[in-house]
Symmetry: C2
């Protein structure tokens, strides 16, 4: 955490809240504790965010914008070929997975507390629109429901990161610390999502 004077009180509360929620969960940290960590008086969370929930909502919004900043850029230009579409999808899986891993502790708090964020909605919408345009360009099957595909891929990445300790316990593979497995996981899931299960 930075405590430089250049941060405003509000910014310091967002930083302290993010750090402490990630460490101790939402229920495990008090407003008083967050304000102490941020070096502000105890009523500042109320002043800026209304409540502890309001602070979490603001932190979740910042987080979702930050997580999806790189992945969402992949939707900004259209692929030039089927191979280009496939490699774009692979980058999408990799960059989203990495952003989730990097922010795992705080992400789990946000998911557990069921916070809706504009960031994830914007990402989902951009993803779905990208698939619809790729459909018009002939890279995606006509029959595909683009919203379902978007949802399925996000579910897959979220759960692999959420349940990483259980997957490690049961299957002995670790998506968080093992970069080779992470890459292999992306390749195998890309194959599933691009080509499906059924033999031709």
């Amino acid at each position: 955490m930075s405590t430089t004077a250049s941060l405003t009180t509000k910014e310091r509360l967002l930083e302290s809240g993010a750090k402490l929620f990630a460490e101790k969960g939402f229920a495990g940290v008090s407003i008083r504790r967050i304000c102490a960590d941020a070096g502000t008086s105890p009523n500042m969370v109320h002043h800026f965010f209304g409540s502890k929930q309001g602070l979490l909502d603001a932190i979740a919004e910042q987080l979702s914008v930050s997580i999806f900043a790189i992945p969402i850029r992949l939707f900004q230009t259209m692929p030039a070929s089927k191979a280009d579409f496939a490699s774009r999808m692979q980058m999408l899986l990799e960059t989203t997975l990495e952003a989730y891993i990097e922010n795992r502790a705080l992400l789990l708090v946000v998911v557990r507390e069921e916070v809706d964020t504009q960031g994830v909605l914007d990402y989902s919408k951009a993803f779905t629109e990208f698939l619809e345009r790729a459909k018009r360009d002939g890279f995606v099957r006509e029959q595909l429901d683009s919203e379902m595909a978007t949802g399925a891929i996000i579910d897959r990445i979220l759960n692999q990161v959420s349940f990483a300790p259980q997957v490690r316990r049961v299957y002995g593979v670790d998506i968080i610390s093992d970069a080779d497995y992470r890459q292999r996981w992306c390749e195998l899931n890309l194959d599933l999502f691009l080509n499906g299960m059924a033999a031709q």
Copy 2:
């Protein structure tokens, strides 16, 4: 809950625990409360299960066996054709989704408390083996990683049920109460998982 004399003390504790954990979450209910509901003396959870966690573990095991009882039967005989394989997959999606919905409250507690159960492992294993056999019969693509496909489908169903209230808030569709949407959801996801995203 049944309180007939035919249930043993241990069975009554499993029933009361399942009911109360589903209503109030794991942290929200005490051993004393569970024993009172089951009409037993307060030391019976300790006696039969060691601890509140031990009781939850036993409830989770019962739940996972019960949830997967119908879906797992779909793996017991092999499909006779590609069309038969596809309809088996559709029944699998539908029956697993319905079992998750029916047990949603307790399932969320089990997921949240990160309980591993043999029931879900047996289901995953049977699912993966079914896909491997279907591969040998020519219904599933050679290149598919059957474990990844199993995981992706389970992730998709689990999250759709877990996040149902958020999906309802944001998209206005309700997989829990709307049987038509549930069927449509299964069809669209089946299409994704069978045929993939990519145009041929």
